[in-house]
């Protein structure tokens, strides 16, 4: 379909070279790069800005925004989330039923006869393998997923071939939501044992609705519908993800009919795609904050009043209006409306802009004018470089001596670093989905001495916000936690970014609100292509 359309388009120019073009075209067809069978299949070609953040691979343990785009189609969890519902709903997937048999033990019945992409059948051993390796960090690679989601999970116990027991270290109120993250996807143990970790990472065998046909880690991933999928079959025959790092190239590829779907379009690049018949834009304000983590232990930024001044002097309205063309969101507190009732608190405001007070705080702090080094990643976050330059100016105005420093990778020894840009996406729709996944004691800011709240109430409040089973108590302690965090100013929220997807106008797709940002949902009922 796509290929044919492209050729027709290219025949449009009626000029002298047309005959040459035509001859070459026939040659191209003879070469047969686009076979007719492929051309008629229902295919979705996706252009992605990036494929990974350092370690390529499609196994479940990767937790990056880049890999989540592809993982969702390949892997299947014991429990799946309904992508759009509010409040959040869980659907039985590889597990058919589950119940708590003790406060720290959940028993799950597995679905019978589920096939993996390699044709093997899923059983309890596969589940135990897939989850235990990450929970028990049998490889350094699993460290990220374990620290972010599973530090309270102990082990999977095999009861019989279709029954497993999930053991947590302490009662886990978030057990379902965590088990439905793609990091808890189930892969084939048999396959892993056969080909080894490295190969299984580049060509994973899962139980999701699409299977991997080929993966070139820097260029292209081809998925095909998995016909033995346990549930409703996938709507697409084939999905091709192509790595197109340049924004202009990506937009052109879409307009030119080379791909059908692209993402990562910042607001000031939308122009060329607006008001077109063949393309439609889909904007989204991500449940995600761009954040500056400020070292609370560095001799300069260890000064709390200075950090508070830095926090108060950022004109977020201006950044959102200027950089994000008014389309991003100014944060009021570290929370997102996607949590839904009752945990989202629209009335809660902790983040403020008050340059006068900031000036005063700088004076009170006894700050001696030592340079505050704003280290930024010039290419990682959208507008990261521009925001750094603008914020440096704002800080300068309240009397802070800022020095900009761009860096491509942070060193393992973070002692010298004062400020590190970061993002706080909502990994799952719960306050902890954006908080615990970043600011817990398992996260790098704590482990690497960046985030060390001094307030004596912190630990007790955190306990309740994270582990309490009483919703009211969680809510109350979370509110207090956010207020303390604001006082400590160990992190500075900047804004919620806005981005667009663009797709062929006959594609129907919407952003899944219950999944983490950037997850692409191409399963049954989640995308429609063509008539």
């Amino acid at each position: 379909m796509g290929a044919k359309k492209m050729y027709r388009k290219r025949m449009r120019p009626c000029n002298l070279v047309r005959s040459t073009v035509f001859a070459l075209m026939i040659l191209g067809l003879i070469v047969g790069v686009f076979g007719t069978a492929v051309a008629q299949a229902k295919e979705l070609r996706v252009g992605l800005q990036s494929f990974d953040d350092g370690t390529p691979g499609l196994d479940t343990y990767h937790t990056t925004n880049a890999q989540t785009q592809m993982q969702n189609s390949i892997h299947e969890c014991l429990i799946e989330r309904e992508p759009y519902s509010q409040p959040l709903k869980f659907m039985p997937a590889l597990a058919t039923s589950w119940k708590m048999i003790q406060p720290t033990v959940m028993e799950m019945k597995l679905r019978k006869g589920v096939k993996f992409h390699d044709g093997s059948t899923m059983n309890a051993e596969d589940v135990a393998f897939s989850l235990n390796r990450i929970w028990q960090r049998t490889r350094p690679a699993y460290d990220g997923a374990q620290g972010r989601f599973f530090y309270n999970f102990d082990k999977v116990e095999v009861v019989d071939s279709l029954t497993v027991r999930i053991h947590t270290k302490r009662p886990e109120p978030l057990i379902e939501v965590l088990l439905s993250d793609k990091c808890a996807g189930i892969v084939s143990k048999e396959y892993h044992d056969k080909v080894g970790f490295e190969k299984a990472d580049l060509a994973p065998v899962g139980a999701g609705p699409y299977k991997v046909v080929s993966f070139k880690a820097r260029h292209q991933l081809v998925l095909e519908r998995f016909n033995d999928y346990w549930g409703e079959k996938a709507p697409l025959d084939k999905i091709t993800f192509t790595h197109i790092p340049e924004i202009s190239s990506r937009i052109t590829a879409l307009v030119n009919g080379e791909v059908d779907f692209i993402g990562n379009i910042p607001p000031d690049q939308e122009g060329p795609l607006q008001n077109r018949k063949d393309v439609k834009l889909l904007g989204v304000v991500w449940p995600m904050f761009h954040v500056y983590a400020v070292s609370m232990t560095h001799p300069v930024t260890g000064n709390k009043k200075l950090r508070q001044a830095m926090n108060l002097s950022i004109n977020r309205e201006l950044l959102v209006k200027g950089l994000w063309q008014g389309k991003g969101l100014v944060p009021k507190a570290h929370q997102f409306k996607e949590y839904g009732a009752p945990l989202y608190m629209p009335e809660l405001v902790t983040v403020k802009y008050d340059p006068e007070k900031a000036k005063q705080l700088v004076k009170e702090s006894g700050y001696n004018g030592a340079p505050v080094v704003l280290t930024f990643l010039p290419h990682y976050y959208t507008y990261g470089s521009l925001a750094a330059q603008a914020i440096a100016e704002m800080w300068q105005k309240v009397g802070i001596n800022v020095k900009l420093q761009s860096i491509d990778n942070f060193p393992s020894d973070m002692k010298e670093i004062m400020i590190r840009p970061w993002s706080n996406p909502m990994y799952y729709p719960d306050p902890m989905g954006a908080y615990d996944t970043h600011w817990s004691k398992a996260g790098w800011p704590y482990r690497r001495n960046f985030f060390k709240p001094e307030n004596p109430k912190w630990d007790a409040l955190y306990e309740k916000a994270r582990f309490s089973t009483d919703v009211k108590e969680r809510k109350q302690s979370y509110t207090e936690l956010l207020q303390i965090a604001q006082d400590e100013s160990g992190y500075i929220l900047l804004y919620q970014p806005y981005e667009s997807f663009a797709m062929r106008s006959d594609i129907e797709w919407k952003v899944p609100t219950n999944m983490r940002p950037y997850a692409l949902t191409f399963r049954a009922g989640q995308i429609k292509v063509g008539k």
Partner: protein
């Protein structure tokens, strides 16, 4: 003669070895690859485990000895990022880069040589200068601006040509032009200066004095003689073309080794970086070596003390 070849060969080997040492050390100076692979850091025990696994826990001389030993056993290393043999990675991607380089090389010769001829033959006229200016213009615009402009014009606005990947011959057109644009200037200038040198020599005067037609003089005598140095240089430029593809491959999402190279530096993938640089050096040194030998064979006047 044999002594010269021996000397020359020794020098070539020494150069490759020097490159090997340099790239090995330089790679390790860029920092710890684990910082890139695990941006959020690892607990010390896990980090140690990985360093041992990659052999990075040893001292640099030890690592070097191990690496050279592996090289001689035909084991070129495993990519830290992709966790597969680097030789496979290069083998997969070199084709795309070579094809693109070849096409653009052809194109730049087809246009560059006539441009240089016009530049030389009409060198005192406006036409000559204009042609050379056009050639230089291709060089004056940064690669990625040419590439993006072409994409915008022929992809975004006209929908004539595809802009990403290398699936069909159509995909070759824009990247080929981009890469060739930078070569026109070089080839045109070489041709022009070489032709000018020949034109000023005595046998040209003789040829004209014999009453030969000007066209015959130019094409039969002048061009033939002036092309020899041009061709020699062109042959060597193929290596350069591969290099120029770093940017072109990024803009056109071309699955070649240029991106692999840059990625290896940026992501500190030592085995990929080392293997790429050493291969490149070996090819260049080999070509250089053969050219020197050829020179001696062709022109016995060049006597050597190596």
């Amino acid at each position: 003669m044999l002594k010269f070849i021996g000397w020359r060969f020794g020098r070539a080997l020494l150069t490759v070895f020097a490159v090997l040492v340099a790239v090995f050390l330089a790679a390790r100076l860029t920092g710890n690859p684990l910082d890139v692979m695990y941006p959020d850091g690892l607990p010390p025990d896990q980090e140690q485990r990985l360093l041992v696994q990659y052999g990075l826990d040893k001292t640099v001389p030890e690592q070097f000895v191990n690496y050279v030993r592996d090289l001689f056993q035909g084991n070129f290393g495993i990519s830290l990022r992709e966790k597969r043999p680097v030789a496979d990675m290069y083998a997969e991607d070199i084709g795309a880069t070579l094809k693109l380089a070849g096409c653009s090389f052809l194109l730049s010769v087809i246009f560059g040589i006539p441009m240089g001829m016009i530049g030389a033959l009409k060198r005192r006229t406006g036409a000559g200068r204009l042609v050379m200016s056009v050639a230089f213009l291709g060089y004056a615009v940064p690669h990625f601006i040419i590439a993006l402009s072409l994409i915008l014009i022929f992809g975004f606005y006209l929908h004539w040509l595809p802009s990403t990947g290398n699936a069909t011959i159509w995909h070759y057109i824009l990247p080929t032009i981009t890469l060739a644009a930078h070569r026109f200037a070089s080839i045109a200038r070489h041709t022009r200066s070489s032709l000018l040198d020949v034109l000023s020599q005595d046998f040209m005067r003789t040829a004209r004095a014999k009453g030969l037609e000007e066209r015959v003089v130019i094409f039969k005598h002048a061009m033939r003689n002036s092309l020899i140095p041009v061709v020699t240089i062109l042959g060597l430029q193929i290596a350069g073309l591969i290099n120029g593809s770093i940017i072109v491959e990024t803009v056109f999402s071309w699955p070649g080794i240029g991106r692999l190279f840059v990625g290896a530096v940026m992501k500190r993938d030592f085995p990929v970086l080392q293997f790429g640089v050493i291969c490149f050096a070996a090819i260049v040194v080999l070509v250089n070596f053969m050219v020197d030998i050829l020179y001696v064979i062709i022109d016995p006047r060049i006597r050597t003390e190596a």
